[in-house]
């Protein structure tokens, strides 16, 4: 185990959310975590609820009847929004974390342009597509239904 001495000074979970003065990618990281946990929680309940279709029409309609209240509809909307963000940011992360779009190593000349600058257009595109999906989803949930 790594030995260390002195007064403990780790930021802890606060460091996930409030580490100081940041760039946008760190906010994206925090949001990706939050949406992921939200989606996971919904998913586990979703599996159990939708499995009722295996027991026939009555079981299905009973299960669906249990979640007709507006709070559930709004919750599903939030799930859709979370999916739109998590999926598009996820595409960005898959590309970046496999080394695509981070740029080649260069000799650092001040002011430094880092991999964050190189992948910024990708992040913006992902954000725009996510917004389009959210707008479409908002239409579908609340306006056209």
């Amino acid at each position: 185990m790594l030995k260390t001495r002195g007064f403990p000074n780790r930021l802890g979970i606060q460091g996930w959310a409030f580490g100081g003065r940041w760039g946008p990618e760190r906010y994206l990281y925090t949001l990706h975590r939050i949406t992921g946990l939200g989606l996971l929680l919904y998913f586990l309940l979703h599996i159990l609820l939708t499995s009722s279709r295996a027991l026939g029409m009555e079981a299905w309609e009973q299960a669906m009847g249990a979640v007709t209240a507006p709070i559930f509809t709004f919750g599903e909307y939030l799930v859709f929004v979370a999916f739109a963000f998590h999926a598009l940011n996820g595409i960005r992360l898959v590309l970046v974390e496999l080394g695509v779009g981070v740029g080649k190593p260069i000799e650092p000349v001040y002011p430094y342009r880092t991999s964050l600058n190189v992948q910024r257009p990708l992040a913006i595109c992902a954000g725009i597509v996510a917004l389009v999906l959210i707008v479409l989803g908002t239409l579908d949930f609340f306006i056209l239904d």
């Binding site: 946990l37 996971l40 939708t50 009722s52 295996a54 027991l55 029409m57 999926a87 989803g137 239409l139």
Partner: protein, 127 residues
């Protein structure tokens, strides 16, 4: 310990699988008014009406893709959750216990979901 190198690779692969199939699922369920597609909601009306659910369950495509989506999403989500938990630095023994709990939860839910997909297929064929 080779584990994280392998698990992370499959986490990414699973993420791509989820992207495709969950994207399709979300389109059917929540973009049906904006992008109407008769083949996905054959009976019209709401996507979660029994008629549509049964029509999808009757095919081979939907039960199979549901099972694929279920497996990929469970692996992707639970590995992500494992990462979050482990990054909070629990003691070693607790890490092993958590790892096993998550794996069991994943396998259990996969079993339930797969049973449901197969049984729903049968129910839809009989109806």
């Amino acid at each position: 310990m080779m584990r994280d190198q392998k698990l992370w690779t499959w986490h990414v692969v699973a993420g791509l699988v989820v992207l495709v199939f969950l994207g399709l699922h979300m389109t059917i369920m929540h973009l049906d008014e904006v992008i109407p597609a008769a083949s996905l909601n054959p009976q019209g009306g709401h996507p979660i009406d029994w008629a549509n659910v049964a029509a999808r369950g009757k095919t081979l495509f939907f039960p199979i893709t549901y099972v694929v989506l279920l497996g990929a999403a469970l692996f992707h989500g639970l590995y992500g959750f494992r990462n979050i938990l482990f990054e909070l630095n629990p003691p070693g023994a607790l890490k092993r216990v958590l790892g096993w709990l998550l794996a069991l939860a994943g396998l259990g839910l996969f079993a339930i979901g797969t049973w449901a997909a197969i049984a729903a297929h049968r129910v839809a064929l009989l109806a």
